[in-house]
Amino acid sequence: MARLITYREAIREAIAEEMSGNDKVIFLGEDIGAYGGAFGVSKGLLERFGAGRVIETPISENSIVGVGVGAAMAGFCPIVEIMFMDFITLAMDQIVNHAAKIHYIYSGQLNVPLTVRVPAGAGKGYGASHSQSLDCWFLNVPGLKVVAPSNPYSAKGLLKSAIKDPNPVIFIENKMLYDFKQEVPEEPYYLEIGKAETLLAGTDVSLISYGRALHLSLAAAKIAKEAGISVELIDLATLKPLDTGTIINSVKKTGKAVIVEEGHKTSGVGAEIAALISEECLEYMNGKVVRVAAEECPIPSAQKLEAAILPSVEKITAAIKKACFSYE
């Protein structure tokens, strides 16, 4: 039976189910106890699982992740919540030099089944240090997996898989999606990391996105349809390993692509996908590859400015037209 739950509830359920099923799953983070986490994700988990497994930490991001790495090396499956993705900058050493590399550099003697959950993204007027989408930073680090679900169903299934994964996973939650509701099965289920989902089949242009930007892309796809453009909409869901097959097959069919992300354009997720398309699909192209991303400036606090620098339905609609009609 399915019921309507929020993205927040879906994530909480995934944590609770995995903690119930495996006593090696522990949860660490700042204010995740009685307070329930900065975004209310962990409400009730302390009462249910106790302070031995829901471990409130001091404000020490690098070492919280480091503690997670160590516990993972010694047989546990820690989930670490970093309150805002912006704060993950403080933990880059433990993520990049430790979590990502330990299985390789120690030649498989040890591994790091660690999940780092990070609420990301703008839209709440929190300003430059509480609004970023630093997703693309982690794509350049072999050894990491990066997951960024756009809806409650995929958030739950992918988080359960991330917690079970024997490798470190950066799990990016868009904070504007926490109240987004969707029907989610009551029965436990897992979704495979590394699989994109084609949400709309189309023939004219591949619209590739993920996270909150996917919802804007869906709205733009509907507008494009009214203008007679058939859009194939792909939700990446996992950014690393990227589902290159789904992207390549779609672009070979449509010959055009628009890539939408909430992070900045330079060296972003879109840049990687555009490069993939140019390597694999060039002879099939009959239009452009266009990227839609945040403007190249820090996220301003003023909400009108913030909205103006982020991707929007209008910007995506314009990008679709640019991709399709640039040679006409």
Binding site: N62, S63, G66, A74, K101, H103, L110
Partner: protein, 321 residues
């Protein structure tokens, strides 16, 4: 002194000599261009690893720093597998993928040397958390230098170990220099052990050139940790006779200072002690000759073993499953 204590001292002598000769061999190989990459030798600091490890069980964890060959050998590591690792051979501890700063020997509880100064401290703290959650009597021991005490991870980890009551021994090997920077210039306190006070962690200061003192103090500290389930901190005052790494001409310190510490060398201190207990000098020479042969034989074996092929070098980025 009882015989078993004499045996213990002889074992220390054998172990410390093994580390010393191994490190000198590494130094020699670099000077001849026979080894690539880098290495941070612990010549002069052998007593710290030896004295502490003698109090550890096989299932206790050791987490080391970039200067970690001695820690690994003291935990029971094989010199041949270290040679092979440094040479990129397939029979090295990590098949040559890790190298000197990323050595690991899980089967003996050695959870890695670490190329990031202070990087192993939170990892060790997490391992100590796992011990607490499993309710076992194991201990995690983490070695780091004086330089690491200025890293944020040091302070963050001591704080967490203290508030959570974790079974971890923090061992600061204060060899007076973080690479070239004197500890007296980079901190404004005399004893780094005082930093543990700030986190309400019990600490000891010990003469790191005296293996008996290290053994006794760390034994006390480890018993305290196992019994109280609280962390403890040891500052071992020591000195590396060699440079920071293979290419260091040591221009930042005086020959007089080096001579002064040479006179306190941990192996010489131990030899004097053994002679005072009636152990024959010829016996020590015999042990030295045997150890040199052992190291040489290990090196020869490593030299002959197979280079790690690229096909293997590209594998293992992710664990399957």
């Amino acid at each position: 002194m009882a015989n078993n204590n004499l045996d213990q001292l002889i074992n220390f002598y054998k172990l410390m000599l093994k580390v010393r000769i191994f490190e000198e061999k590494i130094d020699w190989l670099f000077s001849r261009g026979l080894l690539g990459g880098t290495s941070h030798m612990c010549i002069g600091q052998e007593a710290v690893a030896a004295g502490i490890s003698a109090n550890l069980n096989l299932d206790d964890y050791v987490i080391s720093s970039h200067r970690g060959h001695g820690h690994l050998i003291a935990k029971g590591g094989e010199v041949r597998k270290i040679f092979s690792e440094l040479m990129g051979k397939v029979d090295g501890y990590c098949q040559g993928k890790g190298g000197t700063q990323h050595l690991c020997a899980k089967e003996i509880g050695f959870y890695g040397t670490n190329g990031i100064v202070g990087g192993g401290i939170p990892v060790a703290t997490g391992i100590a958390l796992s011990i607490k959650l499993r309710r076992s009597r194991q201990v995690a021991v983490v070695f780091f230098g004086d330089g690491a005490t200025n890293q944020g991870t040091f302070h963050e980890s001591l704080n967490m170990a203290s508030i959570w009551g974790l079974p971890i021994l923090f061992v600061c090997e204060n060899n007076l220099y973080g690479m070239s920077a004197p500890v007296s210039k980079m901190t404004n306190i005399k004893d780094l052990a005082r930093r543990a006070d700030a986190y309400n962690i019990k600490s000891h200061i010990v003469d790191g050139m005296d293996v008996e003192a290290v053994f006794a103090r760390s034994g006390e500290a480890l018993n305290y940790i196992r019994d109280s389930q609280k962390p403890c901190f040891i500052e071992a005052k020591t000195y590396r006779h060699c440079g920071h790494s293979k290419s260091d001409a040591r221009v930042y310190r005086t020959k007089e200072e080096e001579k002064c510490w040479r006179e306190k060398d941990c192996l010489d201190v131990l030899k004097t002690r053994l002679i005072s207990l009636g152990f024959a000098a010829e016996q020590m020479d015999k042990i030295k000759a045997e150890t040199e042969q052992e190291i040489e034989a290990a090196w020869k074996l490593s030299e002959k073993s197979e280079d790690t092929p690229l096909s293997l070098g590209l594998k293992g980025v992710y664990k399957d499953g």
